[in-house]
């Protein structure tokens, strides 16, 4: 079960749209910064295929300028 965290940079002035777009995706959890144009994105998926699909989905978001991965973990299924 991969868990990854990213810094998501929106196109200028499109932070709110990005927040909206990301929060509509089930596997995503976000934490927007209060005073800067950046937000933290945490993805949690069941397996690698789902992870890859999610990645594709994220890439289609228009308000997203750059997605920089910070850390990634993988944990066994059972807990």
């Amino acid at each position: 079960m991969p868990i990854k965290s990213y810094l998501a940079h929106p196109h200028s002035g499109k932070k709110n749209e990005l927040i909206e777009a990301l929060s509509s995706i089930e596997q995503c959890e976000i934490m927007p910064a209060q005073n800067k144009e950046v937000l933290i994105l945490i993805t949690e998926t069941e397996d690698k295929t789902e992870e890859a699909m999610l990645k594709e989905k994220l890439e289609t978001i228009e308000s997203l300028k750059l997605l920089a991965m910070v850390s990634g973990f993988n944990t066994p299924q059972n807990n």
């Binding site: 868990i3 810094l7 959890e29 910064a33 945490i42 949690e44 910070v70 944990t75």
Partner: protein
């Protein structure tokens, strides 16, 4: 927040968030994730939370006050406030308890035949207006005065200034900020020509080294100090405590350097000497943006009545400045200051290192100084010589002690020589103010009258007959207090005091007006970083208590100034603020509109094109810069800041064989100002029930004094007996003692000296000679 190991997924997610937050913090200094912080705060469902700036010190923390059934019941730090980011200190967390002391003043009291008699607000205000008119008639306009404070909200101070300067026509307007910030103001004016810090608190997130000049920040500005400590954990910054006494701050610092009182002047010059001698001067910055000046020396100390001083600035060149500094080699200064040459070089090396961003912080240590203006100038010299100024992380930063010392006293200008925009001596400034105030320009006198100490001397002499004191407690805070208390009690003086609790100052009053405090009314404060913050009324004031603003408006109306005081009771704060903004309608000082201040935790002036200005004088950040260069010190006509040649001179009264110790006074973390509010908060009183005198353990041993023993302190002004404190909260250097001033039952100011800085007229509470005996 802790995570639990039992839920491994949650834990991993937490780690993922943490690493992302750390990464974000390195990329964007000062970044905030408020939502995450807010999760941790307990949320009582039926509480109504509203934002306000904290009532106490000048840091200006954003707090959220929770009310329930018309009572304030809880406080939390406002995570959205860029000042404190959700954290408060012990005073802030318990601030609302200051509203509910049992002996709160709720009815006006009038002194009749030595007894205080309850009366109605109408009657009391009638009496105040009548007495004022009568005094003007029999003794002239300059016989009435108002003495306010840095705890005045912006509308309070504005109404006072408009009434006294504009309508009545006297410059007898002063505020207790004269006793705490005046040297900072004259420091800014002489070095830069315009008041208040160029930088802001965000500098803390960028600086690499912090110098604390005589500033016990861990106790006095704890929330900002937490930000320093936070940066140290994250970025390994250095904190250097340069002080006369070992305190909590010294213990938390990376290095603590002690100097002899008053010799900070010499050490600052020695640092400049080292910077020049080692070739660390930022030559292009100095050539483009600085001039060199010298002023008069041997100015005296203002100990005599009617003392006058005016500095005569004279241009000098870099060579002359360099020559002057030859008297301040580290080896020579070491002998004066007690700071080893090695330590001086150590400090200079940090200031001189082009790769280190430096923030210098100070407050009362440098301001309550008989050469306060000079030491402020000298620290700016260091920053100007190295070009470390007005850019993120490079910041000489003057902290304040009261919630609106900047916002009200300095910006509205409730000092004898000031107008909201400019000074009374300037005809154009008078015309400008008179137009907005809707008064004839001749009303505003062109000559300043009395600064605070002189104002109380005038009351003693009888030149002033009527004084209205609002939100402050001079009968605890004036130096050489006994003279001024006796003066105020003399026959033929009429004193009005607006306050929320009985204090030694209400004890000398002829009329006591009960005031509405803080969130019992609407108002605005301005903090140290030029941030103006608005707060709504959240609870009703007790009894007949009325805001200071409205008291002034009511009296003004009774004196016949209805035209100028046209404000409606429901909207007067908004009307006054909008009128006040007109005085600052320019790029250098524009204030944010009220809607903006209501919607967010404050905004920093100059507020231009909908944006706060974080770093003034820097063309990148400040739209008022207009000279086409990187920096523009537009306070001065030629756009250049001034490096001042200021020598070391001794204090007014130094220890001798008869009075062999230094006496230093100050505050403690639990209590604020004179304790009239904080001592009524049980938590704070339990932690710090009374004042004490701190001695060095060696002195204590020699005098056979142990903690708790009574100690008699004697100065040329009188004597006082206090319990001793050894190796507790702080330790003064040998042959020095320290006493906090908050305790009205142990008035240390009865024996302090009323010497002041001749330029700023701010008294030196930190230095006089004292004899110490076991009582």
């Amino acid at each position: 927040m802790y995570t639990s190991l039992t839920n491994r997924r949650k834990f991993i997610k937490k780690m993922a968030i943490l690493s992302a937050m750390t990464a974000a913090a390195t990329m964007f200094p000062g970044i905030l994730f408020a939502d995450e912080q807010e999760k941790g705060i307990p949320n009582s469902a039926n509480l109504d939370w509203k934002k306000a700036p904290c009532r106490f010190c000048g840091v200006g923390c954003g707090v959220l006050v929770g009310t329930e059934n018309g009572k304030a019941v809880a406080v939390k730090g406002d995570p959205k406030s860029p000042v404190n980011k959700g954290l408060c200190c012990v005073k802030g967390y318990h601030s609302i308890m200051a509203l509910y002391g049992k002996d709160r003043l709720t009815k006006p009291l009038v002194k009749r035949k030595g007894q205080y008699v309850e009366t109605s607000m109408e009657e009391a205000l009638d009496l105040v207006a009548f007495k004022m008119k009568e005094t003007i008639k029999s003794h002239g306009k300059d016989a009435v005065s108002i003495y306010g404070s840095g705890q005045w909200t912006i509308p309070d101070g504005y109404a006072a200034s408009k009434l006294f300067k504009g309508c009545i026509g006297t410059n007898n307007v002063e505020a207790n900020a004269r006793l705490c910030m005046a040297s900072a103001v004259t420091g800014f004016m002489t070095s830069f020509g315009i008041d208040e810090p160029m930088g802001c608190y965000e500098d803390i997130d960028h600086a690499d080294v912090f110098f604390l000049w005589g500033n016990n920040m861990a106790e006095m500005h704890p929330v900002l100090f937490s930000r320093l400590l936070d940066q140290r954990l994250k970025r390994d910054v250095k904190i250097i405590d340069f002080a006369t006494r070992t305190t909590r701050t010294s213990k938390a610092s990376d290095k603590s350097i002690l100097f002899k009182p008053q010799t900070d002047l010499a050490v600052a010059n020695a640092i400049c000497y080292e910077i020049i001698n080692n070739g660390w001067v930022n030559t292009s910055f100095v050539e483009k943006h600085c001039n060199f000046n010298k002023g008069l020396t041997n100015m005296g100390y203002g100990l005599e009545d009617n003392y006058k001083f005016k500095d005569k600035p004279e241009k000098i060149d870099f060579t002359a400045f360099k020559k002057f500094l030859e008297d301040y080699t580290p080896e020579k200064v070491e002998k004066v200051s007690g700071v080893s040459a090695k330590d001086i070089k150590y400090m200079a090396a940090y200031y001189g290192d082009p790769n280190k961003k430096i923030m210098s912080l100070w407050c009362m240590g440098m301001n309550q100084h008989s050469r306060g203006t000079w030491i402020n100038n000298l620290v700016y010299n260091i920053h100007l010589l190295t070009g470390k100024i007005s850019s993120p992380g490079n910041s000489p930063f003057s902290l304040t002690g009261q919630p609106s010392a900047c916002g009200t006293v300095r910006e509205v200008g409730t000092l004898t020589h000031k107008l909201p925009h400019g000074v009374v001596m300037n005809e154009k400034h008078r015309e400008f103010a008179a137009k907005i105030w809707d008064v004839p320009v001749e009303n505003i006198p062109s000559k300043p009258t009395y600064h605070t100490v002189e104002m109380f001397r005038a009351l003693d002499r009888g030149d002033i007959r009527f004084m209205w004191i609002q939100v402050t407690n001079p009968m605890v805070t004036m130096p050489k207090l006994k003279r001024y208390r006796d003066g105020a009690k003399k026959e033929g003086r009429f004193i009005v005091v607006s306050d929320i609790y009985p204090t030694p100052t209400t004890d000398i009053a002829d009329v006591i007006l009960p005031s509405a405090m803080w969130i019992e009314r609407e108002g605005l404060f301005g903090n140290s970083e030029r941030r103006t913050q608005h707060f709504d009324q959240m609870v009703d004031p007790p009894g007949e208590a009325m805001s200071d603003t409205w008291q002034l408006v009511e009296v003004a109306k009774r004196m016949g100034y209805e035209k100028q005081f046209y404000y409606k009771e429901e909207t007067h704060i908004e009307e006054i603020y909008n009128e006040y903004r007109k005085h600052h309608d320019n790029k250098k000082h524009n204030m944010a509109p009220l809607e903006v201040l209501k919607s967010q935790p404050g905004a920093m002036w100059p507020f231009v094109d909908g944006k706060s200005t974080k770093w003034r004088f820097n063309a990148k950040y400040d739209p008022a810069c207009s000279n086409g260069k990187d920096f523009h010190f537009y306070g001065k006509p030629d756009g250049k800041a001034i490096i001042w040649q200021r020598p070391y001179e001794p204090a007014a009264e130094e220890p001798d064989s008869e009075y062999p110790y230094w006496l230093n006074t100050g505050r403690v973390v639990e209590h604020w100002h004179t304790g009239s509010m904080t001592r009524r908060i049980p938590v704070l009183h339990k932690a710090m029930p009374h004042a004490y005198v701190e001695l060095h353990p060696h002195d204590a041993k020699r005098l056979q004094i142990r903690t708790g023993d009574n100690v008699k302190l004697t100065t040329r002004r009188g004597e006082i007996v206090l319990p001793a404190s050894i190796n507790q909260r702080g330790v003064p250097a040998p042959m020095q003692v320290f006493v906090p001033f908050f305790d009205e039952n142990l008035l240390i100011n009865d024996i302090t000296l009323d010497s002041f800085c001749p330029i700023s007229k701010e008294p030196d509470y930190k230095k006089c000679a004292v004899k110490v005996e076991k009582a």
